[in-house]
Subunit: 296 residues, 2 copies
């Protein structure tokens, strides 16, 4: 089946046509997020992007099997409404109906982007075959998703999962999420930048990847926080595998190796547990949204 996957982010709306049998993207496009123009402008761009891709492939819209739309926010349990998507400035925003009006003949689903990326890694990436697994995306924010019993876990009450807002320092500063000292404050780009204020996150990540001496210290402090966040998940769920994605994971092996060592040292359980870099990269949202039809 050919499905459309759309990944709405605070900077870009990315869309792709995906062969759901193998996760390959046959065509893709990207447009800037229409900041400040209201939600209708966003849905129009989603619509236009998918239809442009169909035309580029000379595909009849009736042959499109599914449209999956991922966005960085919390959805209502019935997935019709965005409760909060801070980066998009959507709060209590209807999403299913306006999209359905634009794709009236195609099955459609809206999902959290961390869930979409998790589905992509589980179907085609480093979480393939896992019964219990976690994806943590380390970017401006920290998101992710859970595989439990071999399937995407959408939260016990259907609200989703937000590993980036678990507690890392209970007497830390308050965060907009409501918690104090949540994981995102220390493990997101802001937390990384705090460790070396004179450099940008990208410069820090490059330094870590190159293995320069000063970056080693930054990495040491950063992984103290990140490993403790992962230990919370490990000691609660004892997962087989944890994948790290998002921009910060571009720091590569030095980040993964130091994090894995510290998680092993701090974990309650002695176990062969894999901690690996996510493999779907920037395509995870598109691919996961496109193939999520069977998982939601």
């Amino acid at each position: 089946m050919i499905a459309a996957g759309v990944d709405i982010g605070g900077s870009f709306i990315k869309a792709g046509l995906v062969d759901t049998a193998n996760g390959r993207i046959k065509a893709r496009c990207s447009v800037p997020f229409p900041k400040g123009q209201g939600e209708e402008a966003v849905w129009d761009l989603v619509d236009a992007s998918v239809k442009k891709l169909l035309r580029s492939q000379k595909m009849d819209p009736a042959d499109l099997g599914f449209v999956g739309v991922a966005l960085p926010g919390t959805l209502s349990p019935d997935k019709t409404t965005v409760i909060h998507a801070y980066n998009l400035n959507f709060h209590g925003t209807l999403v299913y109906r306006p999209l359905q009006e634009r794709f009236p003949h195609t099955p459609l689903a809206v999902m959290n982007d961390g869930d979409a990326a998790t589905v992509a890694e589980h179907q085609f990436g480093v979480l393939k075959g896992a019964r219990t697994a976690v994806l943590l995306t380390l970017g401006t924010g920290v998101g992710g998703g859970l595989i439990l019993n071999g399937k995407l876990f959408g939260g016990g009450l259907g609200n989703g999962v937000e590993p980036g807002h678990m507690t890392l320092r209970y007497d830390g500063e308050p965060h907009i999420c409501g918690n104090n000292g949540c994981v995102e404050m220390y493990c997101g780009a802001h937390g990384l930048a705090t460790e070396k204020p004179e450099a940008t996150p990208r410069e820090i990540i490059e330094g870590i990847r190159r293995g320069d001496a000063e970056s080693e210290k930054v990495l040491d402090r950063y992984t103290d926080a990140l490993s403790s966040a992962l230990v919370s998940i490990v000691n609660l769920l004892d997962p087989e595998v944890i994948a790290l994605g998002g921009g910060i994971s571009n720091a590569g092996a030095p980040l993964i190796d130091m994090t894995a060592r510290k998680v092993r040292e701090k974990s309650f359980f002695v176990a062969e547990r894999r901690i690996v870099r996510a493999s779907m990269g920037n395509d995870a949202g598109i691919v996961g949204a496109a193939v999520a039809g069977d998982c939601l």
Copy 2:
């Protein structure tokens, strides 16, 4: 079916004969834990306790349907060996075979006591009917268990779950579990006592229950930590219901109400989520061990 449930603790070994249809304990006994006498003395006491109960009920040992044994430690994934049970001083201790030798004709299982208590609450207590639920036991240590997809969750790799060793302060002091600043350090009896060093945990709990002004302050600081621990679980799993058990939960409604309010304030999700006191009390281990045959 009549099953035996045995709850091995660092102070007492408690045993009961349980009607698995309704969780009722038909007969029970308790003997001091034989400190420093080695594990064979423990298995002998388990054996003697169960056989004494059978005699008291004029029951033929052949009519005993199951023996479940719960203990405060981590078991190997195949549940034959105690990896660590610090309070019992068991480390790498064989447990299944010596017990099977004593009950050669009865199905037998060994489990973590937090898992046993969780099964008891799920079958007969406040977690009944829940698909996604958590029990946290607040005692000297902090333990608990998870219900996922309506069943006891034994960990992705089979090592169990240890919510008491999730991270609460990543730059806190090291704990014997390997982590720094884990939940148990702030939410166990030691953490409660830190808030009011001149009183025993029991006196503090009594004061909170009575609602005296000074204890209110202790409760406020304690629930800052406890609520943040629960928020980690809420933001990761979005459970329907969380039950609080163990000795500290005897503080009752003041503890539950303040904790529930703070969890609501700090949670990412807006949801009707129940936070309640566990209802099986000191019997949870016996009952859960006895009925766990179908859950493990």
